[in-house]
Symmetry: C2
Subunit: 556 residues, 2 copies
């Protein structure tokens, strides 16, 4: 069997100009990066204003397990299927972070015959967007520490600096550090910490801004800490929002690549969905929506995280109108939610499958709470048995849930035709506008409790003292009208990663509240979730190499 990388390398790519032509994007609006990727000028957004925006389809999933769900693979496969069905379609996806690529995943560009390419470049440095964000973030940190070193005119309290440095790596040793050591010439000693770039506020800002002016305004609004008198200090107070905008100028342009079947794919922005808002950039989704009839997009992890934030944060803020949702599940993963350990997944177990469906059921209820139509996609594995498939199909019929099997890993778009047809059926039914779960003028606690109970199924919410105080503080500052961005483990509906299936009677613990005023949301950290991952005992990096023909080894 060919590896993903071998499949990707054997594919004959169309030139990026040809892909752009499909979308009516002129070559003067295309900034090539190599022969197979390009950035696209934002001028495209203001041309041909007569066209109506595309139908937006969101792909989400059940809670991920080590068994694998293949959400990105289904997203790409669905877009390829829709193209085979004669539709003008594009994808809007996130850029992979180097942290998981070097750490555990090895890559994040779909799989088999449903990949975006060039996979090697996309998985490594791509067009440099994430590096530009890292540079802008850390330039701001250096400017903050320099401001203090040079006299601290703004009276910043070094114990109250909330702006962290970043690296786009999994590096647990940088979670908590002390900087500025070494004496009077080396800076001012203080506690600091690093987060992974994809969890940074600048990543969120880049993904939510809808113009350069908006980008600069948002960067200026970011709070970097508090004065000795406990007043917020913003980037605008430091007068460096212009410099940060300049550093992000190229990174703000969406990247265009293609799938293995030549479907145009916009890959832009890459916030994690557990510790950040989990969606590709607004500007890429809007651009894709401008130049095609259907846009298939993806939000990270399960519907409790990515889809909730895609709808309550991104879609509301950017006035996007998603028309249909695909919920991806696999029989293997459902069996894990039903209690089967990884080692036994190849054995038929209908009972465990039926138990595990409680997880899928919760996520479909969530989509229903947003008043959106959906279809469940069952991503096939060779280990699925006939009895298991029948049990699942019959359950869906009983529940009145539309379902389609996909085999896009093996067959590309052809393996997603059934799903494609189901999606087209939903789009033709012309649904009304989706409804956010909570109004913006609800209190912060009301918002948190709404998501916790309706989406996670929690019995209630507890707050520790620091979180209580920050909620009070942010309410006083008038920031309580912002949406919330929950940071929670992806593995469970609860804040305990070991509780699979559909946990009940649990209470959600809010450990910390962080305002992201530039992004325009309030981050709520639950459980033990960390904004800087660690590397596993055997990192993927140990397998990576460059081959005799300079081909990448160890990306998969």
């Amino acid at each position: 069997m060919l590896s993903d990388l071998e499949i990707a390398k054997n594919c004959n790519l169309e030139s990026i100009e040809t892909i752009a032509e499909k979308l009516g994007i002129e070559s003067s609006d295309l900034i090539p990066y190599g022969k197979d990727k390009a950035k696209v000028s934002l001028d495209v957004l203001t041309k041909n204003n007569a066209t109506k925006p595309a139908d937006l389809v969101l792909v989400t999933s059940i809670n991920p397990t080590p068994a694998g769900e293949g959400k990105s693979t289904v997203t790409v496969g669905l877009a390829q299927a829709l193209q085979q069905l004669g539709k003008s379609v594009s994808c809007a996806l996130r850029e992979p972070s180097l942290g998981p690529v070097m750490g555990i995943k090895g890559g994040a560009t779909g799989g088999g015959y449903s990949q975006v390419v060039p996979m090697e470049s996309i998985n490594l440095h791509f067009t440099g967007d994430i590096h530009a964000i890292t540079a802008a973030n850390n330039a701001l940190s250096a400017l903050i520490d320099n401001h203090i070193f040079q006299g601290n005119a703004l009276n910043i309290d070094i114990r109250r600096i909330t702006w962290k440095r970043v690296v786009d790596l999994n590096d647990r040793a940088l979670r908590e550090v002390i900087i500025g050591l070494g004496g009077v010439k080396q800076g001012i000693p203080r506690e600091d910490g690093f987060t992974i770039t994809v969890a940074s506020e600048i990543m969120a800002v880049l993904c939510l801004a809808d113009s350069y002016d908006d980008l600069k305004l948002r960067l200026g609004r970011m709070i970097i800490g508090y004065t000795v008198d406990d007043e917020p200090v913003t980037v605008k107070d430091l007068a460096v929002e212009g410099a940060l905008t300049l550093l992000l100028k190229e990174a703000f342009q969406p990247n265009l690549v293609q799938t293995l079947e030549g479907v145009p794919a916009f890959i832009h922005g890459g916030p994690f969905a557990n510790i950040a808002h989990g969606c590709n950039s607004v500007i890429a989704t809007k651009m894709a929506s401008k130049v095609s009839d259907i846009v298939v997009t993806e939000a990270g992890f399960g519907a409790d995280l990515g889809a909730e934030k895609f709808l309550n944060i991104k879609s509301r803020m950017a006035e996007l109108n998603p028309k249909a949702v695909v919920v991806v599940a696999t029989i293997r993963a459902l069996k894990m939610h039903g209690g089967v350990p990884v080692a036994d997944l190849d054995k038929e177990n209908v009972e465990a499958l039926l138990d595990g469906l409680s997880n899928l059921k919760k996520h479909t209820e969530t989509i229903e709470a947003f008043e959106l139509p959906y279809v469940v996609a069952i991503n096939q594995f060779t280990s699925d048995t006939k009895k298991e498939v029948e049990a699942l199909t019959s359950w869906c019929q009983t529940e009145g849930i539309a379902v389609a099997e996909t085999n896009v890993w093996k067959d590309g778009g052809r393996g997603g035709l059934a799903l494609g047809k189901e999606v087209l059926k939903l789009l033709e039914e012309k649904q009304t506008r989706f409804k956010p779960l909570y109004p913006l003028d609800a209190s912060l606690k009301e918002k948190i409790e709404k998501v916790a109970t309706t989406v996670y199924g929690a019995a209630g919410v507890d707050y520790n003292k620091d979180a209580e105080e920050m909620i009070h503080r942010l309410t006083q500052l008038g920031f309580d009208n912002l949406p919330i961005c929950m940071a929670k483990t992806q593995y469970s509906l609860s804040d305990d990663p070991t509780l699979l299936g559909r946990p009940k009677d649990f209470r959600l613990m809010i450990r910390e509240i962080r305002p992201s005023i530039g992004a325009g949301f309030i981050v709520c950290l639950t459980g033990d979730v960390l904004t800087m991952p660690g590397l596993p005992k055997q990192p993927a990096a140990l397998q990576m190499d460059i081959g005799a023909d300079l081909e990448a080894i160890g990306l998969f």
Copy 2:
């Protein structure tokens, strides 16, 4: 008067394909990054082996002063002049670091009508090479700390880890830090520090490797620290040289841009010359040398730093054969070396000029010690008076030193024709091969003392205890056959930045010795020189912005 950025923006660039065509580089070997820059495949190096390598011309200067010397401007202007004189010529230059761009310089791409373009992109992220080096360096750090966290099979002593993290910024607060705080789940606490990326060993490795195989071998040889038993631990011991090579795959390809007059310019690799070896990549110099008849290249800061290392390290290691040297000086800077403060530079002062010539004289003696022919380029300023110019010219005649005035800032290549003709004269005289200052089999102390006395004019060298011990250690390990890479202030021939002109009777203090076995040299730190610069009170970043037409503001 137009700013550098305005001049650069008003220029009509040729397409990068046209520039490549001039050099006989086929479009299949060109990887475009936007319309005006490209990476070039290393395949070019193995094609058309019949051609003879270009004549290599090195541009260096006196010790820099705040008055400005314009070495990059003269380098670009000379190449443009040689093109006007009908020669097939290209430049080989370094990539600017974001640290000084955000800090003090605002840009580093020449000036006036002698610039490389696109200046905005080159000064900011360019093609991402330095970001890739940052990522590779910090991935290695994360892998080291993870190795220790996961059981430390290699028995690495956490007090003896010499591998530092990097950011490509001026950030003094990161010079000395403590990482791994926060308890048992967050890593192992230890002392660490950040250097600026352009001073990192990976930057040096990328600049000195001559093939992908060599790159991987060098990365594998890098020492990251020592075991509890004080044995060196290398990247190869950690088995991650493949991953690092993969991360540097694109960064290793030279970048092609152009000057304002359409001279092809290879800009690749950017080590500082005070704290690193100060030259663009070997691979770019070799490529330029393959595709043109004359290559004009530059080494950083004065001849005591950049030129010394260009000759003793880069040229020897890569078997390059430079044929002629240009030593850049300005009347203003020479007056500063003669004791005039910045505020009084506009006043005529022949006496101070003649005093300051001692600095120029020392550098010409250095070039003579390498047995290379040279010409002094006097880069004109409007404040230069007729008497000053006459005094300088007459001094050169008395000393038997070839000299040419240039006005390349104002007139582009036309302003460098006199210099161009002098350079051609030197090349036609067909000089013999340059002679390194010391043999590789001399002891480390002999090498240090040779450079200190012959190049800097020191009376002798002192070593502190740590340096003494490390020299002993490296000699035991068999690394004493490597060249040395001196880290010294650029402002003075001595290790005291306040001593201008030609200091005498000083002793050089060697404070620390750091082996860079991957790069293939031993770094010798003198005086107070730091491998992580700080920001000034008013960083250039405060002036930076993005304009209404998205043009960069504040780069100059």
